[in-house]
Amino acid sequence: MKVGSPRFKEKTLVALADPNLRQALGQSRKGFVNGRAALVAGVPEFEAMRDQARDVKNHVLANLDHYLERFEASVTAAGGHVHWAADAEDARRIVLDICQRVDAKVVTKGKSMVSEEIGLNEALEEQGYTVVETDLGEYIIQLAHEPPSHIIAPAIHKTKAQVAELFEAAHGGPRKTTVGELVTEARLVLREKYFQADVGITGGNYLVAETGSSIIVTNEGNGDLTQTLARVHIVTSGIERIVPTLDDVALFLRILARSATGQETETYTTLSTGPRRPGDVDGPEEYHVVLVDNGRSKMLGGKFQDMLRCIRCGACMNHCPVYGAVGGHAYGWVYPGPMGAVLTPLFVGLDATRDLPNACTLNGRCQSVCPVRIPLPELLRELRHRQHEQGLRPPGQTRAIGAWRFVAERPRLYQFANRMAARVLKKMGGSAGRIANLPGGAAWSGLRDLPAPQGQTFLELWQARRK
């Protein structure tokens, strides 16, 4: 997928000026945030569960090779196939090869962030396959030719009217006016596709080493129709999504929906283990899991390993005030919000993503709701450190920090500079007590006055008082 992150600032300005987006983000923020808060308040064990979820993930990462091999053995024993993809190109090729071998025409897809990450739709369409996203949100943005703006609510930025317009263009009129009509229309259109599909591709929330099962969690049931009705079911999933046993899955099921959408559970949790068996009258004839690395193993053992715990619930973005102001598209790639601001630089490189680690106030609200306790602010700061070391920070800021350090390392000079600043700014504030136009400081005073200092510094007054 094309990386739009270099145009972050430009995109944020567009987003901030979009009243529809503002309304949509306001709604979702309230819905998800309040929903989570209400549910978590009713589960006294929740904090203990977060600790355990973190610990299980850490345990898996420390033994990832073993659990991957065990998962592979379990899938194989159930008659399925495991494919290993070192990078996005590998992953695309594996899927394309399967589609070609089974002579596929129509490919349906349940929601899979990994498939977005590896640019699977474009690759399939290039080869002439008809690709249909079946999650309603994904379907909407597929019609709009846009990337998702949220990892669990991909079309959260679209209003009902915008969806109606897209549907009218794609399906013909008359234009629908209610959400109910829109959902029914999508239901009828997509129903045909499920039955036509040769290959159904889904993601995998969890890959269970014990049983060789892949698990999806959805509200719509689209993933189930996708994988049940197609001849071939392909799961694309990151290598870090392994959990050892079903009992570990229980733990994650208890925190996932509560963190993600503020529900006690999503409507459907589905475990898939191998293909159709003797006597079965439905289900896929083939079952494949594509294990995608694509940079993940390089995160292991380093400063960013904690990020591999991520279960893609979206709680961090739901609670992020920056995401809440600008939405997901500004981040410019697959993963938005705090988790995206960490992952995108790691996946696509620091150079093309210079804004992402910086467009954050380090307020820590994301970390406070992360079900697997990823220290997101610390990881963002670490990325800033990498930027600093590689000379990728804004030169003006680097100079300012250098000058600040020079002065702050010299207490007498520092105090002198402060005394001067206190006087000059006080004078500039005049009788108003504030500065409306700060020379050279438009980034501050474009939107805010600068409250004027009181005229003398604290240390100066303190010394005077002691004498």
């Binding site: 944020t12 300005l13 901030l16 005030p321 920056v322 809440g324 102001a325 600008v326 910086n358 467009a359 954050c360 106030t361 380090l362 307020n363 820590g364 609200r365 406070s368 700061r381 800033r384 450190h385 990498r386 930027q387 600093h388 070391e389 804004p394 800021q397 680097t398 920090i401 600040w404 350090r405 002065v407 702050a408 390392e409 207490p411 520092y414 105090q415 402060n418 600043a421 700014l425 504030g429 108003a432 007590g433 504030r434 980034a443 501050w444 474009g446 939107l447 805010r448 006055d449 409250p451 004027a452 200092p453 009181q454 003398q456 510094t457 604290f458 240390l459 007054l461 303190w462 010394q463």
Partner: protein, 255 residues
């Protein structure tokens, strides 16, 4: 025996709002502490740390560590600076056998002002009056890194004449975020406006908070929009020293 407290004079307090420093001194002395202010102090180093310049942060951290050795406690009227000292200094020196113990020792006795008063000194009430309805913004570092939540409310509850009207989303960031507020002014402005809409909805005439970064940012935006809402640091109200001009308001002519 009264504990010796070194006051950490934060950069913004020192330059913009000495009144907050004197309010802190009064509150600490009222709580039975003897307060000193080391003159060799400058900045905690957080600007460098958050800009990814860990060397700069370490250089300044060493200066702070040296300046405040020997005190029973180090207290500052800021959740942000004190969280840096408490949580980040030990991390900055994690691989430094000489400095790590010193950083940890400092971290262990460093506190944000109100949590120190309430949690360490057991202060339950202050002797102050404030005639007005206030709303309190939970600054993020204090709230999430230091657990400053109940203490300001407890102490504000003892201020005569003061009515506290809680705003919705009080735990949501105001958009200051250090250099963030000038690197991404438009996003920062939107966050400020969201926050100030919550403030306005309470009908409060005064906005309080524990960090001058947030307060300068919010006061600046309030005043730009022509709002009459006054802004003070919580310590000023608790010390009975909020009788002068609010942050960003017209100041009396100095004699």
């Amino acid at each position: 025996m009264s504990p010796r407290v070194g006051l950490f004079a934060t950069c913004l307090m020192n330059l913009f709002r000495p009144n907050v420093g004197f309010a802190a001194v009064k509150l600490l002395e009222d709580a039975g502490c003897s307060v000193e202010v080391p003159l060799a102090q400058t900045c905690c180093g957080q600007p460098g740390y958050n800009a990814g310049d860990f060397d700069a942060a370490r250089a300044l951290a060493k200066q702070v560590i040296a300046a405040f050795e020997g005190f029973d406690y180090v207290v500052g009227p800021s959740g942000s600076c004190m969280a840096t000292i408490r949580h980040d200094y030990p991390k900055l020196f994690a691989d430094d056998a000489d400095w790590r113990p010193r950083a940890e020792a400092l971290a262990a006795r460093s506190f944000e002002l109100l949590s120190f008063l309430a949690d360490v000194r057991g202060v339950r009430a202050v002797a102050a009056d404030y005639a007005g309805t206030v709303t309190y913004h939970d600054s993020c570092s204090g709230l999430r890194e230091l657990g400053v939540k109940a203490q300001p409310r407890l102490l504000l509850g003892s201020v005569g004449g003061l009515k506290l009207a809680e705003m919705s989303d009080t735990e949501v960031c105001c958009g200051f975020g250090g250099s963030f507020c000038v690197s991404y002014p438009e996003i920062s402005g939107r966050m400020a406006d969201d926050k100030l809409a919550c403030v306005a909805a309470t009908g409060a005439d005064t906005l309080l908070g524990g960090d001058l970064g947030c307060l300068l940012h919010l006061a600046g935006r309030l005043k730009r929009c022509g709002s009459p809402v006054k802004v003070f640091h919580t310590a000023e109200v608790l010390a009975g020293m909020a009788d002068g001009a609010g942050i960003g308001d017209q100041q009396e002519v100095q004699k």
